[in-house]
Amino acid sequence: MTEQYRQVLDRVTRVRGVRGAMLVAGEDGLVVAESLMEGVRGNAVAALAASLVKRFRQAAEAAGAGMPDFLHLQGEGGTLLSVPAADGVLVVAVGDADLNVGLVRLEMLRAAEVLE
């Protein structure tokens, strides 16, 4: 993992409640870089999150809402967040259900800006 990617992911994983952060190739659903706690299946999260974002994008475009700039999926046992970055890369974070979403979103947007 390059130093730049590591720093970008560290900013996200520093937030309390975040279990992992990844850079994912949006079209392929493959992991570009990851910083995950033990037990988080990086390849599964990457593939499914990319698929989810692709479908949300299609739905948003069909609804005339344009490209979504933030995806927040809230579950009973956790949270999945995704922000698009340059070149089709997605910044993806997984965390606890009671995560401070606003703070993580801010760090993810900053991470996406660094990757521009």
Binding site: A44, A46, A47, L48
Partner: protein, 156 residues
Amino acid sequence: MKKTRAVEAWTLEPLERFIGETGARLTLLMTPAGQVLAQHGFTRAVDVMSAAALGAAIMASTVELAKLMETREFTALNHQGVEHGIFLAGFATPRGRLLALVVYGTESSMGLVQLFFEDLAAQLDAACPPVERKKPVLAADFERELNESLSALFGG
């Protein structure tokens, strides 16, 4: 017409689940010799036989490449196109090594196919019945079995 068909019934449920999860357009399960066990998405026998022969040949080529490089066999091959991608991989079962050839479009992804291929291989390994003792092959049996296989794959 049903899009998923199997010569070996135990392959059908895992294959249908894989198709449901990945949205793959075409899938073949076959032996390394190119003998088809199940297929999804093909409508013509000639296409299945051609795809199986080409898939088996590609896999055989990678095995020889690995030997040349004095390394272990490659496990999977991905070929990404603009509209379609091809995924070709081998996996072990109690009946020996099998191959999966998957063609997927833009509604799926390499990551999804790779992810659910692991599940497919594990489910096929678990569903595979024990190996039967090999019977001598008679010419009459061969033709009958071939016809039965084609009928199972295409409902002819």
